[in-house]
């Protein structure tokens, strides 16, 4: 098996450390990401998800425990995290609030220009990033950012990170506040990015249906610790535990549970709409099974 590109072991982090207002955000969290993987991180508000992912490109440094990213030991204060920020792109919650250039093209080009790339390369990257998020280059490059819809602004912000061509893309609640079509398009863009460029994705979300649809492996955080970890099917099988943790299961999984409790034999790992349709159809055509 390939070596992890992000490896977090027993990570502790405090806010306002050594002050009277000190509060602990992470209490021994762990995490692993291998090249090309798509991993979900779930947890209720305040479980430590955002604090954890802010360690992935050295925005936060471990107070205790270890964080290794592409071989760099971020617990070592002498290690400069800046080179990692090209390789690990972090998209924050509501990233559209961080757009600042008046036009779409300039906003997306900001990062590549800062890298000192040549004009032609900047242009290539902006075009590539806009294509990846489904914004036609010619129609959007000169549009004013403030005249865009929420979904379009979200995609511009994402394109700005993609233009750095990171090997790992970490997204914190990327679909919150988007309309259904905006969500669908964003998820499709992420899937294409993974399938076509092999970009590894870390998807932080409390939308169970989206997690089930996009990721292969899930970690669940609670109280700053990793409490469940496994394939998406293994984790969503723990529906009682997930509810205790303030989470839930995808609608299709809940429906399958409701049917099983009515005596319908259905397989244990119904996660997506496709799964539910197949399982219910199979069961309806052979009711004696």
């Amino acid at each position: 098996m390939t070596e992890p590109i992000i490896e977090v072991r027993d990570l502790w982090h405090w806010y306002l450390r050594r002050t009277p207002l000190e509060s602990v955000a992470l209490e021994g969290a762990s995490f692993e990401l291998r090249p090309g993987e798509v991993v979900g991180i779930m947890g209720h508000t305040g479980s430590g998800k955002t604090t954890l992912v802010q360690h992935f490109n050295g925005l936060l440094r471990p107070h205790r425990g270890s964080v290794r990213v592409f071989g760099a030991d971020l617990a070592d204060p002498k290690v400069d995290p800046r080179p990692l920020r090209r390789r690990v792109g972090l998209v924050f919650q509501f990233p559209e609030q961080q757009l600042f250039d008046p036009t779409v093209g300039d906003d997306i080009a900001f990062g590549p220009r800062k890298l000192g790339l040549e004009h032609a390369e900047v242009r290539r990257r902006v075009q590539g990033a806009m294509a990846a998020v489904g914004l036609p280059f010619d129609a959007f490059k000169d549009r004013y950012t403030f005249g865009l819809s929420g979904g379009e602004m979200r995609r511009v912000a994402l394109a700005g990170v993609l233009a750095l061509e990171p090997e790992v893309l970490v997204l914190d609640e990327p679909t919150a506040g988007l309309d259904p079509r905006g969500r669908r398009q964003l998820l499709a863009s992420l899937r294409a990015l993974h399938d076509e460029h092999g970009t590894a994705l870390v998807f932080v979300s409390h939308n169970m249906d989206e997690v089930a649809e996009l990721v292969t492996r899930v970690d669940v955080l609670a109280g700053g610790k990793t409490v469940l970890s496994g394939t998406v099917r293994e984790v969503f099988r723990e529906d009682g535990r997930l509810r205790e943790l303030g989470l839930g299961v995808p609608a299709a999984t809940e429906l399958a549970g409701a049917l099983r409790s009515r005596g319908v034999p259905l397989r244990a790992d119904v996660l997506t709409i496709d799964d539910a349709v197949e399982a219910m159809w199979t069961s309806s055509s052979s009711p004696a099974a």
Partner: protein
């Protein structure tokens, strides 16, 4: 129409445009609609369709460029009436982190009634009542920053409720919450609705739409559809044209129907679909 049937809010031929550098963005175009007393009205629409602008018309946070908005017969353009209108129509917004003003929960809930200049005993009664109805009595001495998102939103709703509004507008108030926070806020809203508070909910979660008596769909600043949830979700193609979707259960039912399974209704909840499936399977 009888007096009892008179709508609580009437929006009549309203257009709203916002100035932007180099021009104007038309947020609403000739919208007419009403909010009926005691109903749960849900407003959906794509990002930028005008939902939030429409909601902000209801208490005069946004004034119409053209047309009129009246609340209990009071015109929102009338500066003299605006304070009374805001007592009738309370609003809770999306972000739980920028709606609380005080350092202690019960002071936050008391903030509105204090500004009305009510007697101390009345304020105390209203605060206690609001905390009880939102099931957050145990949080009364806590600092807002110690609360979860769902708790903060319930404190915000309690603050509105202490003003004894006839109507509560939830403008994407569940968008930033985790599943248990969302469930808590929706349970609180359902309880207020049962007590007679008119609810206007704006949401992108199609499975929350099932709670409504009536749904209005906005698109490009106009009313594109109006229906009850079941009739609405019976038109998935039209909804997709409007950049929306149907809830997962409705989608599953429709795909099974396409394959020939006899599922007669548009299910809105998991329980409904499960029951219909048991019938169809026999």
């Amino acid at each position: 129409m009888s007096a009892a049937g008179e709508p609580l809010v009437r929006v009549d031929g309203v257009s709203v445009a916002y100035p932007v550098p180099g021009g104007r963005v038309q947020a609403l175009s000739d919208v007419s609609m009403e909010v009926r007393r005691g109903e749960w009205l849900t407003i959906i629409g794509h990002n930028g369709s005008g939902k939030s602008t429409l909601a902000k018309l209801f208490n005069g946070l946004v004034l119409p460029g053209r047309g009129e908005v009246t609340v209990n017969g009071l015109n929102t353009r009338d500066d003299e009436q605006r304070k009374r209108i805001r007592q009738v129509v309370g609003m809770v917004f999306q972000d739980p982190d920028n709606q609380l003003v005080a350092t202690i929960v019960e002071e936050d809930v008391a903030f509105g009634p204090e500004n009305l200049g009510l007697p101390r005993a009345e304020i105390v009664t209203r605060v206690a009542d609001a905390l009880r109805r939102l099931e957050i009595e145990d949080l009364r001495q806590r600092a807002p920053h110690q609360l979860s998102g769902g708790q903060k939103q319930r404190v915000a709703i309690a603050g509105v409720l202490a003003m004894k509004p006839a109507m509560l507008v939830l403008d994407e108030s569940t968008a930033m919450l985790d599943p248990s926070g969302r469930a808590d806020v929706l349970r609180a809203a359902r309880a207020l609705h049962r007590d007679g508070v008119t609810i206007v909910a704006i949401t992108h979660f199609m499975n929350e739409v099932a709670l409504a008596d009536r749904v209005i769909v906005l698109s490009e600043g106009r009313v594109a559809m109006e229906a009850d949830p079941r009739a609405l979700f019976a038109q998935p193609d039209r909804l997709r044209e409007l950049e929306l979707d149907v809830p997962e259960v409705t989608e599953i039912a429709s795909r099974l129907r396409d394959r020939g399974l006899d599922l007669p209704i548009v299910p809105l909840t998991i329980g409904e679909l499960a029951d219909a499936y048991m019938q169809a399977r026999r």
